[in-house]
């Protein structure tokens, strides 16, 4: 039987990435720290509130527990596209400002070969540095000007991994990767007085030379219950700050950064043959992170990142056949998540985020993956305490698919 091979799958995912529109506005929290933290959940797992650590699912492609790909049956690719609208309000503002942006947060490939060994590789965002601020300074004065700052880029992780299922009950896996990326901030000063020279400076913040390792396990001790846990560590990273002004002058500062470790646990319980509840808890210990050669740095004041997700999903009817109606094989998802963002906080309290989530998974052919849809509505920050509140509505579409038999 002819099948679509891996290169075809990769090309499809690449095409999705290439044609993704690039917008440059995002959360104002992206201007803090190393950018707005992003979790590694795939579109499907986001629909259930960000739950996957203990979920035994051959189509699960979230990048947290490396043991998860141990259940993959065929070579498969996952990619997702997420668009977000933010309504930003501060304690001093009367109304809100809406911004938005779209991003492909990651791409992942998993291959079962040889025998029971599963290999995986991909890229994912760890943070998102997109934001745009435009404001007028010195209003009414001779030196009145507009400063516009465009933030772009991200810190990401390029990784390779493997997992081994043992007796169809346990899967253990490990992931090794490189953490790095550049956050680019372009600041333009546009003076109202035409005789004053407008200028542009670019600040680049780079994370370099950091290596990551994560180890995980998933187990399905009984048919209806599955659990999982993982632990990840990142080596010291090199931070670089590169400034270039209009006259071509560049300056560089360097720091050494103790990147935080992370761990998480999760579980899933299948109540009936079609209903399953899931829960995740994970934390990234940003409070332990520190700039090793600068004890005054704000990067020493991060709060621990915490993620708690609970969700429920209505699975495909296990009795469905290739001739069954599509609705019998569609997966529906609902969830809630609560996060504490690992960012510097002026109050010392963590910056919180919550969201209600929902999603749908439409099967690709009969058993070759899903086209997943996602909607999220939530808030981050706090208008009174933090001074900044963002209400966001997020939509996403993702595909997880395996080799597609053309004769289908």
């Amino acid at each position: 039987m002819n099948t679509l091979r891996i290169p075809a799958l990769l090309c499809s995912a690449l095409a999705l990435a290439v044609f993704t529109p690039s917008a440059e506005a995002g959360s104002l929290f992206a201007s803090e720290g190393l950018g707005l933290p992003r979790d590694g959940y795939d579109i499907a797992a986001r629909g259930t509130g960000g739950t996957s650590i203990g979920s035994v699912d051959p189509y699960q492609m979230s990048v947290n527990n490396p043991a998860a790909i141990g259940w993959v049956i065929r070579p498969q690719v996952q990619a997702g596209l997420v668009t977000e609208n933010n309504w930003i309000t501060t304690r001093d503002s009367d109304g809100s400002t809406r911004v938005g942006g779209t991003r492909l947060p990651g791409i992942r490939l998993a291959i079962p070969w040889p025998g029971s060994l599963r290999w995986g590789a991909g890229f994912r965002d760890l943070t998102d540095g997109r934001y745009t601020i435009e404001s007028v300074f010195n209003e009414g004065a001779d030196d009145e000007f507009t400063r516009t700052i465009h933030g772009a880029g991200s810190i990401g992780q390029l990784y390779a991994e493997f997992a081994v299922p043992i007796a169809d009950v346990v899967s253990v896996g490990a992931r090794f990767g490189w953490v790095g990326g550049t956050l680019r901030e372009q600041s333009e000063d546009d003076f109202f007085d035409g005789d004053v020279t407008d200028t542009e400076t670019v600040l680049r913040t780079r994370v370099e030379n950091a290596k990551s390792a994560a180890f995980g396990i998933q187990a399905r001790p009984v048919e209806r219950v599955s659990v999982g846990a993982y632990f990840g560590q990142v080596s010291n990273a090199r931070l670089k700050s590169l400034l270039e002004n209009d006259s071509g002058v560049t300056s560089e500062q360097r720091r050494k950064y103790d990147y935080p470790s992370t761990w998480g646990i999760g579980g899933a319980f299948r109540m009936t043959k079609r209903w399953e509840v899931l829960a995740d808890y994970s934390t990234t210990m940003w409070s332990d992170a520190e700039v090793l050669d600068d004890n005054t740095s704000t990067f020493n004041d991060f709060q621990d990142g915490v993620h708690i997700g609970i969700g429920v999903r209505r699975l495909s009817d296990p009795a469905a056949t290739i001739r069954s109606r599509l609705s019998r094989r569609t997966v529906w998802r609902l969830g809630y998540r609560y996060d504490e963002l690992g960012l510097p906080s002026p109050t010392g309290d963590p910056i919180k985020e919550w969201a209600l989530t929902g999603g749908v998974g439409i099967p690709v052919q009969f058993d070759r993956g899903f086209v997943d849809g996602l909607v999220e509505f939530g808030r981050r920050g706090d208008k009174d305490e933090v001074g900044l509140r963002e209400t966001f509505f997020r939509m996403g579409v993702g595909v997880t698919f395996q080799q597609l038999p053309p004769a289908f």
């Binding site: 529109p21 668009t83 501060t90 938005g100 601020i133 020279t197 600040l203 931070l239 002026p346 109050t347």
Partner: protein, 424 residues
Amino acid sequence: MTIETERWGRRWLTVAALVGATAGVLATGPGCSEGESDLFNPGSTRGLDAPLDTLDTVTIGEDRSYRSQGESGQRSSLLLLRQPEYSSVAYMLFDVDNVDEDRVITSVSLSVRLSGGTGDEVAVDAHEVDPSIPEWTENEIPLEGPPLLADPVARQTDTVGFNPDNPDSALVQLKTDILSFPVSLIERWLEEPETNRGIGLQLQSDNMGSIVLLSSEAVAVDDDAVVTITPELTIDYEGEGVLNLEPVQDGYLIFDNRAPEPGDAPTLLLDQEIASRALIRPDLSGLDLERGDTIHRAELFLRIVPGTYEYGPDEPFSVGVYANRGPWTEAVEPDTVSRAAFATDVIEVEEDTEVLRLDFGTTLQDWIDGEEDNDGLTLRILGEGLQRAKLQVYSSEADSAAFRPRIEVVASRPLDPRWEDSGQ
């Protein structure tokens, strides 16, 4: 079979509709549009919302006038002047390698174009430069001047200046064969090239006045064509044949025996004819700027001393500000101060101008960035030697503080590294 086909068709139609609708929302929805926020994060530790104090003032650290004793060879004019206390010498060096040694030279003469003049007679002497001195170049003429041999090799008296029959004659006037040189001089330069150190022109000792010769750097445009207006040494061969040589090096020096300009004078003199310039060094110690900061504007304000403006009533002249490239002090009048070839700003000055405003932002940026040392600025009237524009401005020693020069700087600091707390 038909029923199965229809069922599959409906399924795929449903899938396609869902995917299409989602993609449509993603592609056309507001989330794909670029947005800007005019709000800041008030809890930001990065201080992105901190007030930006971009306007600052700078005082003058040192300033003085100085009379330039010489100028590099890049000038388009060569000044010949003589007064009881000062005089000038214009130097020219010709390369005679192309002169045909096998032919007999019958005559050698110099043609120049002159600028200005009053219509009076002008007497010029040409002396050979001492053949024993080292070679000189127009960019490095020693300020003590290449010595001239005592006896002139050529001398000429002619009328220079405005011709009523030719209104343009006051601007540029061609003087052909004004000086005839002995053929033996060229023959010796051919036989002993190491003795060719050029010639020096000066007004005769009893001829007080000034004229301006256009130098080898001067060009003119006539009917959109660039025409040569440089000095030419014309060599006539016996029979037919003429060879014209342009100076390969030329420049001039002023020998001034007047008392030095005081450094603490309350005014600064800008003189076009006998180049007098102003040196100004801003005191940047109070400016909280460092490498990487951006200068948007640095403006120098100089108040003109009333009644000191001298020029045509309806004609503006130009004043330029230059970055200095060499040291000087207020206490000692320098012979010359090296400066950048091009002005950072040039303004037109008219009779009713009260304040000179000159932007030297790019120069200050270089100082802040450490690209150049703060050797201050030179102010000069453009076209020195060509006309007789003159004015005075108040210096930092002026009695009234309101009249003293001042500098306004508009500068901004860049973003600090993300790991720094720059909130104010």
